[in-house]
Symmetry: C2
DNA sequence: CCGGTATACTTAGCGTTGCAAAATAAATCG
DNA sequence: CGATTTATTTTGCAACGCTAAGTATACCGG
């Protein structure tokens, strides 16, 4: 623990990395489960929710190819996810008249409503978690999260992945 | 962003929560993908890796039921994961002589070796991520991560889940 | 000791992800 | 126009993850 202070210059201590690795693994695991819980009540899976969020973040509509790219999944997988989202009416498929190969996926009003409900529910549940930290700490956490995400993103060499 | 400073007392600002939610979702998503990448080179999936880690953390051997509990999965799922781990010789199944209903899962030397290799590979890859932060910042991050994990764990009311 | 209940796993069955490879269909290039 | 690229979908396969049902063992009251 205190070893951190002595990892000279900016070299990263092995033990620290290992501990970090373990904690991140745990975080991913537990947080994912938490997500799944709140979402399943709304009949959504996590990939579906993420997909809806990405669509919304891109103005409510974008070609399925870009969608696959933004979520870092192969197009075949995205086809399946959009299939299921469309079958429950959360999303609509329409071919682009200019390039009839392209399929544009659009968030329906229903989809938007569900997305909002999901977000509200999750926010409510997360508020309690964050209450364990002071406002200053929360600001700190936000900053670190943001920086870490950027590092992650740039490592995977995404050219201009418009964040989520 | 600056709103944080004004969320009086310790009430949590809605916008902050929403932003935090989004970032955590993104983190889980990207980090999981990163995990999958390094692990698939070793023929491991993330649930398999986690399972191996948990076994090791418990001294190299534990009943399959406790394993399911520790990873927060139903026993049927764990049966499948252990099946696959056993079929590649990373783990061994043996009935407890004292309670012949119970199945004890034991990490083999092979499993331990692979686990070590996986960890080494991941550590190497993560070292670069962490190099983007100063030692002080890394220490900060570790502390926040730890606290957050504790909050997460206690929220899901795990009685004495011996972390990972 | 016996029947009934609880416990520890495994099986069966189903739906969602996720990938690779092949198939389609439309655009584009020479 | 034929050949090649591009955008999606289809197909086929494996791993999760869950519920419900089955199996074997332990335990408990009488």
């Amino acid at each position: 623990m205190l070893a951190t202070a002595f990892s000279g210059a900016n070299g990263v201590d092995d033990l620290d990395v290992a501990r970090f690795e373990e904690m991140i693994a745990l975080l991913v695991w537990r947080q994912r489960r938490r997500f799944a819980q709140t979402l399943s009540a709304l009949g959504l899976t996590m990939p579906q929710f993420l997909t809806l969020m990405v669509i919304q973040a891109h103005g409510g509509s974008l070609p399925i190819g870009s969608l696959a790219e933004a979520t870092e999944q192969c197009s075949a997988t995205m086809t399946g996810i959009v299939d299921r989202l469309a079958s429950t009416g959360l999303v609509r498929r329409q071919r682009d008249p200019n390039d009839r190969r392209s399929v544009r996926v659009t968030l329906t009003a229903e989809g938007e409503a569900l997305l909002e409900r999901a977000r509200a529910e999750r926010v409510e549940r997360t508020r309690q978690l964050l209450a364990h930290f002071t406002p200053e700490e929360r600001a700190d956490i936000m900053r670190y999260l943001e920086r870490y995400l950027n590092v992650l993103a740039e490592e995977s060499e995404e050219p201009t992945s418009a964040a989520i």
